[in-house]
Amino acid sequence: MKQHFFVFDPSLCFGCQGCVAACINVNHIKGDQQWRKVFKLPPHHGNHDTMYLSMACNHCENPPCVQACPANAMQVRQADGIVILDQDRCLGCRYCQMACPFDAIVWMEDTKTVGKCNMCCERLDKGQEPACVETCFSGALQFVTLETDEEKDDWLKEIIGFDHDKEAKPRLRFVKDLKNNPSEQKK
């Protein structure tokens, strides 16, 4: 099966927040409803002072939110595994928020539903990249599609500050060969 990944190079991210705002702009959501967030990572080795992680929904292989939703509002798109939320079906029970291991689902006060990253699936269908990836100035946030179930071996599943959830299997990866400050790799 085809699978999409957000691939992140923490050595290139300098916390500009462009991805956060691009997501808000493209999805027509309010400025305080961040579907993508930039986190500060805990202290790393070496002399590099602040490390960031840009994260939205990780479109897990076994998404707990889908299992938790009583209204079938969360569904996995069969062709490529994107976890899509249909806001029209959402009852606002917020079970998915409790189930998500990554706190990636946001309460939308104006619509009384939840909201989250749909991987810009409409843009993908038109051959465009997700808006957050397109606007990333440094290339820290990348979008990679694999045509098979196999995984690239030059990726990491976790870094300091992000633990891979073995049950949910998030599709967030980290480049092993950091473009900048190689000493920052998880040792």
Binding site: C16, I24, T135, F137
Partner: protein
């Protein structure tokens, strides 16, 4: 199928030297969608956090929609008509003129007005000249002393960042943090690294740019002259400089060579508090990385007491290392694209003792009453000028303060008698110059409520003062076409710009100074500045300690032991949009003034991450939230320049003599960076 219309404009922020392109899709139900302009030569469809959030501006519930007048008794604002507002302003201007004090009315226009280049360069100066009133320009807080340094050498860093980065072998960001202030430069910086060339950042802080550089040098705050002169010392001692270029095209090399002897590298290493090896490595890069460019795009260095000398010391390294007139070499400052300057009507300006646009002159004019009325166009002095406690007292004394803006700001809220509602960038036709090109700024929406363009109300105001030829054009498009009648813009008209969303190239040299003729009295690059000598400024780049610093004013440092650095992050542009608090995306990301502090200093004050505290000195105080980080060195704190809290404590002192400003039109930046403070937590 739904009909949509695609138009092009630029980002409404005013970063320098590049403004990114916007594409605006208008749906037939009136909705608009804003994204990056993929045709833009430099930004290529990418937008930073501010550009992505600008969709919040036009329909914002906090926009000013009608003229307001302050009720002097209650202090609150009441709606008035444009006619009443302009009548009252005209009455004051006329009274000043009739009293033989035309200079007593001052117009201060700043970045909000600079967004529309034609307002900044033509229409507002034209207004001030034809009426005969004082004109101050918001470039003075931003970069003016960096301009003086360039003027004194005769060399302006007219290189454009994009093509320069593409061809350079070494990029030095000297006291610049483009990843924060001009994030669209990031791909170009990384391109330098991908080509196996070096990116060097020189800054006492770990800036965002430092984080993606090959080399980060952290000289002690304010010692840049020592660092630059020590590099020159090594280059000259080792004979590793471009002798032919210096002999042919530089003025005063012998004096410079003698002068540089008093900046030996080992002593520089001590003063700058960095290993000697780092200075030697830098000199090695200057000697052997060809071409080499220095990014000096913004005014951080100009905010030092000794800023002019710092920038001159750095500029002198460019001819010394043979980097003038070559692609990929030189100083990156930003090109200058001139319009039809005759339209400014400077020749029609009535003679009067106008206080020049230098903060020393401005401060004095407000103190002694030379100016009694202030019209602020797209600016916010009560956030961005220094020493706000003093400025507040000065503004209180004025007879009239008018603020024209799209949102309320600190100046309007605290000091304005009349507030005028401005159009946003999507509501007026204009053009923008950026990266050697001219871009259309299409009028996409009708003005909201009673919002009016600056040129429109200035015309009505001019007529009330008896000036009838301010806006002689039948419409804005004809006006813009007339403004484009210059050598640099001769290939552009509004109609042509509309057909070229990728911009129209200005007619300016590809490689600045390839003729090696400089804008100095000797027509050479002046290592020894003849003009500086004339004005009593050291003619050779010389070190002087900061106005207030830990090492140089030890008595003051006992009371206020932290050096305050004013900084920039991506989430704000100066104090645009009421310090970005009306833009929800940006407010969520940077909701309050945050003081970055080293863990040692926080521990000494028993402050924890996220604590609230008061930052203060003998001038004033501001309430801030503490963020603990090793990005600032010990005994230094930094605060983003968006916040007025910064200027509650800064000093009014502007080192550049007013005579320089009178002669060159630049100079007079206050020493914002030379400030000592103390911080005390709420629980102490």
């Amino acid at each position: 199928m739904e009909q949509t219309k695609t138009s092009y404009t630029t980002c409404p922020y005013n970063c320098w030297p590049i403004n990114c392109g916007l594409q605006v899709v208008t749906h037939n139900d009136g909705r608009i969608e804003i994204s990056g302009n993929p045709h833009h030569d430099f930004s290529r469809g990418r937008l930073c956090v501010k550009g992505q959030s600008c969709f919040e501006i036009v329909k914002n519930k906090d926009r000013l929609t009608t003229p307001l007048k302050r009720n002097q008794k209650s202090g609150t604002f009441q709606e008035i008509s444009w006619d009443q507002a302009l009548d009252e302003i005209a009455a004051k201007i006329t009274l000043n003129i009739n009293n033989g004090r035309r200079e007593a009315t001052a117009l201060y226009h700043s970045h909000g007005n600079i967004v529309q280049r034609v307002n900044w360069k033509i229409l507002t100066p034209r207004f001030a000249n034809l009426l005969g009133i004082t004109l101050w320009d918001g470039n003075f807080p931003c970069w003016y002393d960096v301009g003086v340094a360039q003027q004194l050498t005769g060399y302006w860093g007219l290189h454009d960042p994009g093509p320069t980065c593409e061809k350079t072998a070494a990029l030095i960001n000297w006291a610049q943090d483009p990843c924060a202030s001009q994030a669209n430069l990031t791909p170009y910086i990384l391109q330098v690294r991908r080509d196996n060339h070096k990116v060097i950042t020189i800054d006492p802080r770990v800036t965002q740019t430092a984080a993606i550089s090959d080399i980060h040098i952290k000289p002690r705050f304010g010692t840049d002259v020592w660092l630059a002169n020590a590099i020159a010392h090594i280059l000259i001692t080792e004979g590793d400089y471009d002798k032919e270029y210096v002999n042919k095209h530089c003025h005063g090399f012998e004096e410079y060579r003698q002068h540089i002897k008093s900046y030996p590298p080992d002593q520089a290493a001590q003063i700058c508090d960095i290993p000697l090896k780092e200075i030697e490595n830098l000199a090695e890069i200057f000697a052997h990385s060809k071409p080499l460019c220095i990014n000096l795009t913004r005014g951080a260095l100009g905010k030092h007491l000794n800023g002019i000398q710092m920038v001159r010391a750095i500029l002198c390294l460019i001819p010394l290392s043979g980097n003038i007139g070559v692609e990929g070499g030189g100083a990156i400052w930003g090109e200058s694209i001139e319009f039809n300057d005759a339209l400014c009507a400077e020749d029609k300006r009535p003679a009067a003792p106008y206080p020049v646009n230098n903060f020393t002159a401005i401060d004095q004019a407000l103190d002694d009453g030379t100016v009694n009325s202030l019209i602020v166009v797209g600016g916010n002095p009560l956030s961005q000028w220094p020493n706000l406690p003093k400025l507040r007292r000065q503004l209180e004394k004025l007879d009239l303060v008018v603020v024209y803006d799209i949102f309320m700001n600190h100046t309007a809220r605290e000091a304005a008698d009349i507030v005028l509602p401005a159009t946003s960038w999507l509501e007026e036709l204009g053009f923008r110059t950026s990266n050697r090109r001219i871009y259309i700024m299409e009028k996409i929406l009708d003005p909201s409520a009673q919002c009016r363009e600056a040129g429109a109300w200035m015309n009505d105001l001019a007529q009330r003062v008896g000036v009838n030829d301010y806006f002689p054009w039948p419409d804005k498009q004809k006006c813009l076409d007339d403004c484009l009648q210059s050598t640099a813009c001769k290939n552009a008209t509004v109609e042509k710009l509309r057909q070229h969303p990728e911009g129209i190239a200005a007619d300016i040299p590809n490689v600045p100074y390839s003729d090696h003729v400089f804008a100095s009295p000797t027509k050479k690059f002046e290592l020894y500045s003849t003009t500086a000598a004339e004005f009593g400024i050291p003619p050779l780049p010389s070190y002087a300690p900061p106005l207030e610093s830990l090492a140089d004013t030890p008595e003051l440092a006992k009371k206020y032991p932290l050096q305050l650095i004013s900084a920039r992050r991506n989430t704000h542009f100066h104090s645009f949009h009421d310090s970005h608090q009306v833009i929800k995306t940006l407010r969520t990301l940077e909701p309050e003034p945050t003081l970055f502090m080293h863990p040692k200093d926080a521990a000494a004050r028993r402050l924890k991450d996220g604590d609230y505290a008061v930052m203060f000195n003998h001038r004033g105080q501001g309430r801030i939230r503490i963020e603990i980080t090793t990005e600032v060195p010990p005994r230094h704190v930094s605060l983003n320049d968006s916040w007025p809290e910064l200027n509650e404590v800064t000093a009014t002192y502007a080192p550049c003599p007013t005579g320089v400003t009178a002669k060159y039109g630049v100079g007079g930046q206050p020493a914002y960076q030379n400030v000592l403070v103390e911080v005390q937590g709420d629980n102490q």
